[in-house]
């Protein structure tokens, strides 16, 4: 069996660095946004982030792998 080893050089490849850069930029934008809005909007923003995790996982299962799950 082939064992995949994490290569530090892969940090320099476009995919990983692009994803990390995008995530970092989004994090900073969202932190600034979150400090400007009120508590109720922060509450909703947290809900969006939480549901985004759940829907991303479901999308991987349903949209990418073609399985359906109603058990969340």
């Amino acid at each position: 069996m082939r064992v995949s080893v994490f290569k530090w050089r892969s940090l320099l490849t476009p995919t990983l660095s692009r994803h990390l850069g995008l995530a970092l930029a989004a994090f900073i934008v969202l932190l600034v946004l979150s400090s400007q809005i009120g508590a109720y909007d922060d509450y909703n923003l947290a809900a969006v982030a939480i549901f985004a995790i759940a829907t991303a996982g479901l999308n991987l299962l349903t949209g990418v792998n073609g399985q359906l799950s109603l058990a969340r």
Binding site: A39, A47, A49, F51, A54, L58, N59, G63, S69, R72
Partner: protein, 284 residues
């Protein structure tokens, strides 16, 4: 999500564990349940898989009601809200702190899933989706791929459920019914199947459409029978309109829009109006 939320609530009951330990523990618990269920699910197809997962969605909250001395029954278990660290200032709102935690967790999840989908694992997922027999002939272990997808998906759900418990401050069976699962499925359909940005669009619609329409309904002074159902009606209307206007979800619609705009722009530059003249592809 239910498994993650209940793991979090149970871990925090009587203990004061830090969030950084509770989140991975809840994630692992959900992933284990997902692994067990995924082995069974990998044998099922289409409506049978939907039926089996529906049974789990209906049955799992009942466990919480049946063993109420552990899971708190219908009232559920409370979770103490997370307090922002002192260095952020005394008047830092707790809503903002949980929002920051959730945003960080969501972005880490997105990076990991994004890399996973670009890797050979992601390509295997797509191969299995598109044609199982062809994938098997190409040397892909179909059942194992499906179980892996189920485990990854369950781990995400567990993390989301754990954060949900912190966010809501309460874990009760009523919050994890079939309605939640259907909402999540409708969210990815509205947002766009098979893409991570589609998941984000879907969650934005899922949260903000009811929030906005709920505020609107209460400000209109409608009779309660109408006002209480108005957000649900508008959500349904949004779902129908989204299916008619952007059948591939918001993400698919945006991609199409960008492609059209690019074609139009390129066409204007070469004076082609974005239409390729097949009789004279060179452009005359």
């Amino acid at each position: 999500m239910a498994v993650g939320a209940y793991s979090t609530s149970l871990l925090l009951r009587g203990h004061d564990l830090p969030l950084i330990l509770v989140l991975p523990a809840s994630l692992t618990a959900a992933a284990l349940v997902g692994a067990v269920f995924g082995v069974a699910a990998a044998r099922l197809r289409g409506p049978y898989l939907a039926g089996a997962t529906l049974a789990l969605a209906v049955g799992l909250p009942q466990i919480a009601t049946r063993y109420s001395h552990v899971f708190g029954g219908e009232e559920g278990l409370t979770v103490a809200p997370q307090v922002a660290p002192a260095w952020l200032g005394a008047d830092f709102p707790p809503e903002r702190w949980i929002a920051w935690i959730a945003i960080a967790a969501a972005l880490i999840t997105m990076v990991l899933l994004g890399n996973l989908l670009q890797s050979s694992v992601g390509r295997r997922f797509k191969a299995v989706r598109d044609h199982e027999a062809a994938a098997a002939l190409a040397g892909i272990n179909v059942a194992r791929t499906q179980v892996v997808a189920f485990v990854v998906s369950a781990a995400c759900a567990g993390l989301a459920g754990s954060l949900f418990a912190y966010w809501a401050g309460l874990t009760a069976p009523a919050g994890f019914g079939v309605a939640l699962s259907l909402q999540l499925v409708s969210a990815i359909v509205i947002g766009g199947l098979g893409s991570l940005s589609g998941a984000v669009w879907g969650s934005i619609v899922l949260v903000f459409v009811p929030a906005l329409t709920g505020g609107m309904a209460s400000s209109l002074n409608l009779p309660s029978a109408v006002g209480n159902n108005l957000p649900l009606l508008i959500y349904g209307a949004v779902l129908v309109v989204a299916m008619l206007v952007v059948p591939y979800g918001i993400d698919g619609g945006l991609r199409r829009l960008f492609a059209l705009a690019r074609a139009r722009w390129a066409g204007a530059a070469s004076n082609h109006k974005g239409v390729v003249d097949w009789d004279d592809p060179a452009g005359g």
